[in-house]
């Protein structure tokens, strides 16, 4: 029994490390390296997730002619099997099926089709994530509009409000992702059977590592020094001929793409999108906590911060029954209390985070040594 719990704990840790690493790396790209205080990180994450909630299910269903109702798809054995009993309960399904109203039915039918069709599943995953990245880039571009014009404090407030905007729209507008109830999402990993959760985690981890390596490569390159120059002194950077506005725009577009991909993969991982779960605490404040505790402007620090945060938080959530007797309140609030206090302490005592930022050499030490040896 303990082992089972340990496996759940470990797989949760892996999934959360993967998803948060993607978001944190992109936040670090914006804040740690370029100095844009993005308090609306949730905007792009929610954008990616909403794309997955709204688009692939609809497209697949309309391709299968599912919206026309049971009569139109009777010939398709898979769909007929999926709908035949339901139609008796709900005769309306004969004529038409609505994506939001009958979401469970639609997604169930689509899922049955996907289970037998790995190729379709994979192309669904790739296409949706690609679309999410595009939407993320668009959102990043919109977010860059205030970012290149406003001072830090105004910017923080505006971006926070923008992040809230998308969540509110998703929550209030039923037609997008089902409003309060949310929508189920077609499962592109369904054909893998019992290996489904591992596959999803593996994909997320792979993408997270790719993002990590990408940002690392950028920050060690001359472009990384440009970003730092913009962060440390905009005016000096301008004097050196750097187009600060363009740099900030590019960074926001790229990092929002990453965050949107993270949101999309997370939606596929949890096979559902509920607008209200994309709130500023989960997708803006927690990433900030991890980046600051780990060390902003520093790739290793962000990795460490993510690991520390996720492991601690999952440990609290998984083994809550061990803590319950010692704590006189519901355990769900413990993480906010704990990490709030930890964040303040880190900010006061060690503002550079666990791993402080180190100056990066223009060329690697290896090359310098070789050059010295040659001469």
């Amino acid at each position: 029994m303990i082992d089972e719990q340990l496996i759940i704990f470990l797989s949760n840790v892996l999934a959360y490390v993967a998803i948060y690493l993607m978001v944190n790396v992109s936040l670090n790209f914006e804040y740690g390296f370029t100095g844009i205080p993005n308090f609306g990180k949730v905007l792009a994450v929610a954008g990616g997730a909403f794309v997955v909630g709204a688009v692939p299910g609809r497209i697949l269903a309309s391709q299968l002619n599912l919206f026309a109702g049971y009569r139109a798809v009777q010939d398709n054995p898979v769909l007929a099997e999926c709908l035949s009993t339901l139609v008796q309960v709900k005769p309306k399904l004969m004529e038409s099926i609505d994506y939001i109203e009958d979401n469970a039915v639609v997604v169930d039918c689509v899922r049955r089709v996907l289970v037998n069709d790995p190729l379709l599943s994979i192309s669904l995953l790739v296409a949706s994530v690609g679309l999410a990245a595009l939407v993320g880039a668009g959102l990043g571009f919109i977010a860059s509009y205030p970012s290149i014009r406003l001072r830090e404090d105004y910017l923080a407030m505006t971006l926070l409000a923008m992040g809230e905007f998308l969540r509110q729209v998703g929550y209030l507008d039923r037609t997008l992702v089902g409003g309060t109830l949310g929508v189920a999402v077609p499962d592109p990993y369904g054909w893998l059977g019992v290996f489904r959760p591992y596959a999803s985690t593996l994909i997320m981890l792979t993408v997270a590592v790719l993002f990590f390596l990408y940002v690392r490569a950028v920050t060690y390159s001359p472009a990384g020094r440009v970003l730092r120059a913009v962060r440390d002194s905009e005016m000096a950077a301008e004097v050196l001929g750097i187009d600060v506005v363009r740099v900030k725009q590019k960074v926001l577009v790229v990092s929002s793409m990453m965050a949107a991909v993270a949101g999309a993969l997370w939606a596929f991982n949890s096979v559902a999108v509920i607008a209200n779960t994309y709130d500023r605490f989960t997708w803006t404040f927690w990433p900030w906590v991890m980046v600051i505790i780990g060390g902003a402007g520093n790739n290793r620090g962000v990795l460490l911060g993510t690991l520390v945060f996720v492991i601690l938080r999952q440990a609290i959530l998984t083994y809550n029954y061990l803590l319950e007797p010692f704590i006189p309140f519901s355990i769900v609030w413990l993480d906010r209390l704990l990490f709030g206090i930890a964040l303040i302490i880190v900010l006061i005592i060690r503002p550079q985070g666990i791993v402080p930022e180190k100056p990066t050499p223009a060329i690697s030490f290896e090359k310098i040594r070789k050059m010295v040896q040659k001469s």
Partner: protein, 312 residues
């Protein structure tokens, strides 16, 4: 008895209290130059105080304004003295200070929710989504909060005006805001002035929250959800002086409630659910058209233009 549309009551109470919250946020911003992301939760503190005093201890509703003021004030003091001042003395960046207020918000929300759980367990009274209008008094046949909320907002502004312009301490406070180092050399205790203004801002937030609880459905997260409205009102007000903040708070509060209703009447009820988007849009429009906020509006110039337009 005069018939008053219930929406007007909603609008007046909401706008008055939003203006008090905006005033507090702006006052804090003027002193320490950091937007306080936990300001909304000061209102939640006031809300829970009101709930506790009335539903649990059966005290008269307006007696709980005092503990709400004190608790809100102490929360703000804790934030300023324990979190922000150490950061400022270490030359922490503005972003670090903003994150610190977010961290404080996390703590406040945790504490408020823990208290709400404890409250429900102990007193067997609902602490999320509660309505405690029944504890309100009636003045002239109207709910008391409908009279007291705007009266309190107006008198607070008036008293603050007197304090800031007619008393030695208030003039010192203004000096400390305008030019801290110069005020310091003139013997004004800048830190004490700032501490006072933080306490005052938190206290006003607590009072606003407790009055909001007498009319609207309260919860420990109410203030946190109100934060965007407060920011929007502060930006509309211009974040430069407290009168602009009050004007922004009233304007946005009224627009949020009455505007939503008007939109609903014009376009059909489906649009009313989009109310939370109004402050966000107001913020965007202000920043695009009038980045300095309402205070930068030159009314005389507008009148002149209108006159000119009329004569042409």
């Amino acid at each position: 008895m005069v018939f008053i549309d219930p929406v007007i009551r909603d609008a007046v109470i909401f706008a008055s209290m939003l203006s008090l919250l905006t005033l507090g946020l702006t006052l804090n911003y003027l002193t320490t130059k950091v937007p306080n992301f936990s300001h909304g939760s000061f209102a939640s503190i006031g809300m829970m105080t009101m709930l506790t005093m009335t539903a649990a201890f059966n005290q008269p509703a307006y007696l709980s304004l005092l503990p709400a003021f004190l608790l809100g004030g102490f929360a703000a003091l804790a934030l300023y003295l324990l979190v922000l001042r150490p950061l400022i003395s270490r030359d922490a960046s503005l972003v670090s200070q903003m994150i610190a207020t977010i961290a404080f918000e996390l703590i406040l929300i945790a504490v408020l929710n823990i208290y709400a759980d404890y409250f429900t367990q102990t007193f067997k009274v609902q602490s999320r989504g509660f309505l405690i209008r029944r504890f309100d008094v009636r003045i002239l046949g109207e709910p008391g909060v409908f009279i007291i909320a705007p009266a309190l907002a107006v008198s607070t502004v008036f008293l603050l005006y007197l304090l800031l312009n007619k008393t030695r301490f208030g003039i010192g406070l203004r000096a400390a805001i305008e030019n801290p180092s110069l005020a310091g050399t003139l013997g004004i205790n800048v830190k004490r002035a700032y501490t006072f203004s933080w306490f005052l801002a938190g206290g006003l937030g607590g009072v606003a929250g407790s009055l909001l609880a007498l009319w609207f459905q309260g919860s420990p997260n109410y203030g946190s959800e109100l934060l965007i409205s407060i920011f929007a009102a502060a930006i509309v007000g211009g974040l430069q002086n407290i009168y602009g903040a009050v004007a922004g708070g009233y304007l946005l509060g009224l627009v949020e409630v009455l505007g939503t209703r008007q939109l609903g009447l014009t376009f059909g009820p489906w649009i009313t659910v989009y109310r939370p988007l109004i402050p966000i849009l107001a913020m965007a429009i202000t920043l695009l058209l009038l980045p300095q906020g309402l205070v930068s509006l030159r009314l005389r110039g507008v009148f002149k233009q209108v006159q000119r337009g009329g004569s042409e």
